[in-house]
Subunit: 424 residues, 2 copies
């Protein structure tokens, strides 16, 4: 299949109208075809079709961050986008998201509630909802997301695909609308780990610490919480989580228990404390001035941050430092931590009934990672998504342990099946 | 002179009652004598008499931070103190300071206004007022200070001694009452650079970045602002500053001009923005509950920070990042920056007439250093004090360039003269 064939297949799939809410801006097929024709075939991502979350700048396309009134048209690509294009990727368009990347559900957007690729009654997860759906449906090969509370991992879990969330700082956040500036990351989705890793390698800064590990050890020590700590999860999902741990053990990992308390306590600081003020600093004044087009939940969360006193942010920062020290003492000599990506996969109706509460539950296991400066890879595991989390700068360890969970090559992308539908 | 002789000389000098306001707690002479007798003579600081600013913990002595009601009695030495004791230093006592290290004048203390060692009408400078005076009078050989806005440099300038302010993070701030947590440093005063450097080496963390420079280059490039930028300074002090630059040039430095605007703009952020909330977070609730014993200027500054919104702190942090980038672009390839330590040396009467305004003027050239993560060494230069500032982790460069300004060995400490007075 030539790159142009791949573009035509994607647009044919798009024309079928599945999950149109995944997209905010789609480029003209002719423009994408022209780009695909111009790609040098030797490039590492030659002809890969790329969807970009609409809080990340693509030159010439509007960046809305999920709010029509916020839209601006950047003249330059974000470095993350530029690096992928330079490696041969071709941009299809910009994807829907929880407004201002504030949410883990995919329902908080005036551009439409994004439904899970596999079940229209379930949420796609957010905030990188459209990007994950575009990949899961086989329309895009790669999609960029962002991740502050789990936005690059939860939608991977809810779509059964791979999401890589690098160590904060590894991929530049220039050209990205800030959510919570200190903790934002650019992430990538793909249907298999190898593809996602190739893209992440291309996007990462070269000046990586010299002592960062380049691979997981052959028999990695993996910390795994006991079943009793997985509160709020169904028995079926707990079984699947234990099965994922067993898969790791069979593949050579040495499992050991871990107490999650300091991790889960820190997780709550992301929305229940001073850090939300970073969201207000980014877009609060805009939301105050533009109530039209605002998602009610997002406006409520960010608006409430207006009056948080600065000394609260300071004491929360100190508290986070203490919890990080406590958590990393608990982590000890483990190479990685295995966790569910989310404890539940809610229906759209459940989120509509309790938008803040259900969203908070979804983030139980993801919210702490960026607060602690960690790296994570989200992969499917039976009916459940799991994350392999590694220390900051140990992204290669997370990827290596995740590969032990996905030893069977991932299924061929839906696109190859699609070709039968659209060719001839 | 044995260590015990040195102790007796110090207590004899203390008995003369000069600047008694420099001290908050003095140890019993017998206890200090016993410690001095127990010091192993081979240690690098064997028998050096140490004064400790009273916001730094010394086991068994009260830590007041300049507020009697705040006093607590720590059971452990701060690591900075412990490392000096382990190297042979002997603690004399705890010194007066601007309350909660909030000030650059030395007048903001219920334990008394600290007068300059050389002229009782002038302020000693702060906040490490007592420590600098104890060294200048020859009572202590070494004294610990802290430096957030310039508290480890301004009192050095006003006493004509040396003050080393390391890169933030180089010396642990554990066991130090926080002033503005993100920017606090432990500093050291001595009468000569070599002694101060010896102490700073002992106090510093060993896990220094591997690529940190170990010395200044033989012909360092030193950025020097033009005379027109030294606003608010007398002609005499401008002459002295130019003379210091000429001394450097004669010693081999390559001088080049620099525009100070981004440095001086950032300097104002320390007290005129969100960062003051760190002071409120540290001691604001205590001051709210304990109006008695509070210095009025300190209580006003910290109390006003109670209602600063957190988003202001966030935007100020972003603003600081931009100013740092702008300033370091201006800095370019220079090895060091030469600046006056303070533009004025005010009288006590001038400070009493305008406590906030005069204090702010004193900090013109010191306030930015910790905001930008830089290292600095303050040394005397004629009637004026100057600072040699180097990039973060380039402490050795700052010290090396400072040594070019103090090429003549520093005068023997006053203590050797004193001995004649107290012996026999």
């Amino acid at each position: 299949m030539t790159p142009q064939d791949r573009v035509r297949a994607a647009y044919a799939r798009l024309a079928r109208g599945e999950r149109p809410e995944a997209w905010i801006t789609l480029r003209d097929e002719a423009d994408v075809l022209a780009d695909a024709a111009a790609v040098a075939p030797h490039l590492p991502l030659a002809g890969s079709l790329l969807a970009v979350k609409d809080n990340i700048d693509v030159a010439g396309l509007p960046t809305t961050a999920g709010h029509p009134g916020y839209a601006y048209r950047p003249s330059r690509n974000a470095p993350a986008v530029q690096r992928l294009i330079d490696a041969g990727a071709v941009v299809l368009g910009k994807t829907n998201l929880d407004q201002f990347a504030t949410g883990l559900v995919g329902t908080r957007s005036p551009y439409g509630v994004v439904r899970a690729a596999g079940d229209p009654d379930l949420v796609a997860g957010g905030s990188s909802s459209g990007s994950a759906v575009a990949v899961a449906l086989g329309i895009a090969d790669l999609a960029l997301g962002t991740d502050t509370a789990g936005s690059g991992r939860v939608p991977a879990a809810f779509q059964g695909i791979v999401g890589i969330k690098p160590t904060p700082g590894r991929v530049p956040t220039t050209g990205v609308v800030p959510a919570c500036r200190s903790f934002d990351c650019v992430t990538v989705f793909a249907r298999d780990l190898a593809t996602a890793q190739r893209a992440m390698t291309v996007m990462s800064d070269a000046d990586w610490p010299a002592d960062a590990p380049l691979a997981a050890p052959p028999y990695p020590v993996v910390a795994v919480p006991g079943r009793d700590q997985l509160t709020g999860m169904s028995d079926e999902w707990r079984d699947a989580f234990e099965q994922a741990a067993k898969t790791l053990e069979t593949a050579g990992a040495i499992l050991r228990p871990i107490r999650l308390d300091p991790f889960l306590t820190a997780a709550k600081l992301l929305y229940d404390g001073g850090f939300v003020a970073e969201r207000y600093a980014a877009v609060g004044a805009f939301l105050d001035d533009h109530p039209d087009g605002a998602d009610p939940a997002v406006a409520a969360i960010i608006g409430a941050a207006r009056d948080i006193p600065a000394h609260r942010l300071v004491t929360d920062t100190e508290r986070l430092d203490r919890l990080r020290a406590e958590a990393m003492a608990e982590w000890g000599d483990a190479d990685a931590l295995l966790l569910p990506t989310a404890p539940i996969h809610p229906t759209i109706a459940e989120v509509e009934a309790d938008p803040i509460g259900v969203n908070a539950r979804v983030g139980t296991y993801t919210n702490f990672a960026n607060l602690f400066g960690l790296a994570a890879v989200a992969v499917p595991a039976g009916p459940l998504g799991v994350q392999v989390i590694a220390r900051g700068h140990a992204d290669a360890v997370a990827a290596g342990v995740a590969a032990m969970l996905t030893a069977t090559p991932a299924p061929a992308p839906a696109a190859s099946g699609l070709r039968l539908l659209v060719v001839g």
